[in-house]
């Protein structure tokens, strides 16, 4: 077999063969080999063997099938070159012992080391598993404890330290009615925690305005929330919610009036109310469902009132019901005007004349006469009826709003406002718009079909009243009408300056009186606060100087001017705004009529068995469209408009709504967990 060494180099035979052993990344093997050959020119023998199984790279963590190499070389410089090259290639170099025996020894040592290490790892993993099992059992308790501790610390952070730095002080708002309960609870808490010092509560005066707390139960909560959505009541002002419990569904029902739709809505809400305690209803994750569920009592009342107004409008899925016999007699008219079959054949439409005796026998006792749903001119009658109804109800609603302001004036000891604000406001509203209501009722009662050709127009009379003109073609409604109207307009105009200047002048006079005696705070019953958290500057800014008085008068006057303009112009525009009651009820009636004539009626065309089968999909389409368009869309629309009427037209007559809600003390659930 060939000599391994080149014979020309036999003078170097006394040099030892050295080894370099290491591990290299498999991708770098060929480059490494080439570089070694180029650099060392064959003065080495390199062998590469792949590892039997992949191992993890300690630097990057990926498992790679490393390649083990063993380089045998001779010569000191070549050794250095090789080491430098393996350094560049990031190889892990291991010491390679010279003799066979020491190599064996090293191997054995490494093997035993591996065994030991794997034993240790096993034991460690077993122990880890045991510890984790124990922790898994205790983890939920720990979680709750940590949450509780965090919540307690959050609350404690809101307290401040006493001067002695030994106890914490928390400033809270507490309803006077619950003060004894709070004291009891503090006593119990101190007792249970076994502390030597008791916690106690003490009332301190303050100049801050308190939050508003309105206690509700599950029924009233929905109505209170729709009032609060616009503005939380200022401290101790009158709360419109108890009245809204009825007026809001009622105004909704005026726009929605239909017995069938109202019944469906009522039954849906009834189902929600009866099953309100079932967990599947309460904890649904769908937000839209939650909104409907929270408002279940609202929808219940809305449905109930819609049934009532549906009976009055005489509409059940757009069809009229004949509970009482109709007041209009077609037979009498036909006999009187001799409407024979031949005559009828040539005239497509004919009108009943109420002037003929026996044709109109009296008003329908409950609601709108059913004959109007069969008439082609039913909109003429209904529009007039609904417009007047909207105006009357609107003026009554607004008058009620002004009346509620009386509660505020009396409660806040501002009786001067009763004479200087409430009275002119009422006079203005009633002299102009109360008179309009009177005209409407008067015309309904006194004018009949006998003078239908010369019946006066209320609208033109009303416009003439404002402009002090007269229209020759428009007959007066009663004797002395012009005189009465002039008086009313003068009264209304006279009340405007009273409203504008009354309160500011009164306050100014009173302030001048008082300023000579002592400095009295403007807001009664509140002193400078001595709470720990206020600074000296806050306390002193409550007082005022003579300069501030002048500014105050300007501010009060401007505020009152804005209020006057808003009220007077608002009376006119808000009355017109109530006409949306007419508009929406008309839209609802028309939509349901269209749905009936264009969808459902087509199902009754065929009278055979086939017709019965065809009726099923037609009814399905009718039902789906009724629920989607008439219940959901119209319902939401009427809801929105009723809400707007309450928030704007009703509430701006008396409501301030500048308060903030009381956030009762509770351990807040951390949303991060």
């Amino acid at each position: 077999h060939e000599p391994i060494l080149d014979p020309s180099l036999h003078q170097h035979l006394d040099r030892k063969i050295n080894f370099v052993a290491g591990v290299i990344h498999p991708w770098r093997v060929s480059a490494f080999e080439r570089l070694l050959w180029r650099a060392c020119r064959g003065y080495l023998v390199a062998s590469f063997v792949e590892m039997p199984e992949p191992m993890e790279d300690p630097a990057t963590g990926e498992t790679i099938t490393w390649v083990i190499f063993l380089i045998s070389y001779w010569g000191e410089q070549i050794g250095q070159k090789i080491r430098k090259i393996s350094d560049c290639f990031h190889c892990q170099v291991y010491p390679y012992p010279e003799s066979e025996a020491s190599r064996e020894e090293t191997m054995n040592g490494l093997h035993s080391q591996i065994q030991d290490l794997s034993l240790v790892l096993e034991e460690t993993e077993q122990y880890l598993a045991q510890v984790l099992d124990k922790v898994a059992v205790a983890l939920p308790t720990w979680r709750v404890q940590v949450q509780k501790m965090k919540a307690i610390y959050l609350v404690l952070n809101q307290c401040s330290f006493d001067v002695t730095q030994k106890c914490l002080i928390a400033e809270v708002w507490c309803p006077v009615r619950d003060l004894t309960q709070v004291q009891d609870a503090l006593r119990q808490g101190s007792y249970k925690s076994g502390s030597s010092v008791e916690c106690f509560v003490q009332r301190i005066p303050t100049s801050e305005s308190p939050p508003t707390l309105i206690r509700t139960n599950k029924f009233t909560a929905g109505f209170q929330s729709i009032v609060d959505a616009y503005g939380v009541a200022s401290y101790q002002e009158v709360n419109p919610a108890p009245y809204a419990i009825i007026t809001f569904p009622f105004i909704f029902a005026i726009m929605f009036g239909d017995v069938g739709h109202g019944l469906l809505m009522f039954l849906f809400a009834l189902w929600m109310v009866v099953y309100e305690n079932s967990p599947s209803l309460r904890q649904a994750s769908n937000e839209i469902w939650q909104t409907f569920f929270e408002g279940r009592y609202l929808i219940l009342l809305m449905g109930a009132f819609s049934i009532y107004t549906g009976f009055i409008y005489n509409e059940c899925f757009s069809k009229a019901t004949v509970i009482f016999p109709s007041a209009w007699s077609v037979a009498t008219m036909a006999n009187h005007s001799s409407w024979s079959s031949a005559y009828l054949a040539t005239h497509p439409t004919l009108t009943l004349d109420p002037n003929v005796t026996g044709v109109f026998r009296g008003p329908y006792p409950f609601g709108i006469d059913p004959i109007w749903s069969l008439a082609t001119n039913h909109l003429n009658f209904l529009n007039s009826f609904k417009m007047k109804m909207s105006v009357v109800l609107g003026i009554v609603h607004m008058g009620f709003g002004v009346l509620l302001g009386v509660f505020n004036h009396v409660h806040f000891q501002q009786r001067h406002r009763l004479v200087l604000e409430f009275l002119p406001e009422m006079v203005f509203l009633l002299a102009l718009f109360g008179y309009l209501v009177f005209l409407i009722f008067y015309k309904w009662i006194t004018f009949s079909a006998a003078d239908s050709l010369v019946a006066p127009s209320i609208l033109i009379h009303f416009i003439d009243m404002f402009l002090f003109t007269s229209n020759a073609g428009n007959l007066p409604l009663y004797r002395g009408q012009v005189a009465v109207q002039t008086v009313l307009v003068v009264l209304a105009l006279a009340s405007v300056p009273v409203l504008l200047l009354g309160t500011p002048l009164y306050l100014c006079c009173r302030r001048r009186q008082v300023a000579t005696e002592e400095q009295e705070p403007l807001l009664e019953g509140q002193e400078a606060g001595n709470s720990v958290n206020t600074t000296k500057e806050d306390v002193e800014s409550g007082g005022h100087s003579p300069d501030a008085e002048h500014l105050d008068f300007a501010e009060i006057f401007m505020h009152q001017a804005i209020h006057t303009i808003e009220y007077c112009l608002g009376c006119v525009s808000n009355t017109a705004s109530y006409l949306r009651l007419w508009a929406l009820s008309l839209a609802h009636a028309q939509l349901s009529e269209v749905l009936w004539t264009m969808v459902m009626r087509n199902g009754f065309v065929g009278l055979s068995y086939v017709g019965g089968v065809v009726l099923v999909p037609v009814f399905a389409a009718f039902a789906v469209l009724t629920v989607a368009i008439l219940l959901v869309m119209e319902g939401l629309s009427a809801f929105l408009h009723a809400l707007r009427l309450h928030w704007v037209e009703f509430q701006n007559k008396f409501y301030v709504g500048a308060g903030y809600k009381l956030c009762p003390f509770a351990f807040a659930v951390d949303t991060g967990e």
Partner: protein, 81 residues
């Protein structure tokens, strides 16, 4: 049913809503909700009565009559009294 004009319906409705708004509030048992229930009863009575009153007064003296198609007239001549 003979048409009594305005008197019978107005007496019936006035008595009914008068009971609801004027008598029932006295019969509500004492409790925390008495005030709210009374407010609801009175408001309901006023609203519903007013609404019904407007409907009946608007039809008391109609200025014009319904315009019917000839088919409707044919049918109603014999069907309605």
């Amino acid at each position: 049913m003979a048409y009594g004009g305005l008197t019978v319906p107005i007496i019936v409705m006035s008595v009914f809503w008068g009971l609801v708004g004027g008598v029932l509030p006295w019969l509500v048992p004492k409790g925390p909700n008495r005030g709210v229930i009374n407010t609801m009863l009175v408001t309901c009575a006023v609203c519903c009565y007013l609404f019904w009153l407007i409907a009946i007064l608007a039809q008391l003296n109609p200025l014009f009559g319904p315009q019917l198609s000839n088919e409707t007239i044919w049918y109603l001549k014999y069907d309605w009294p």
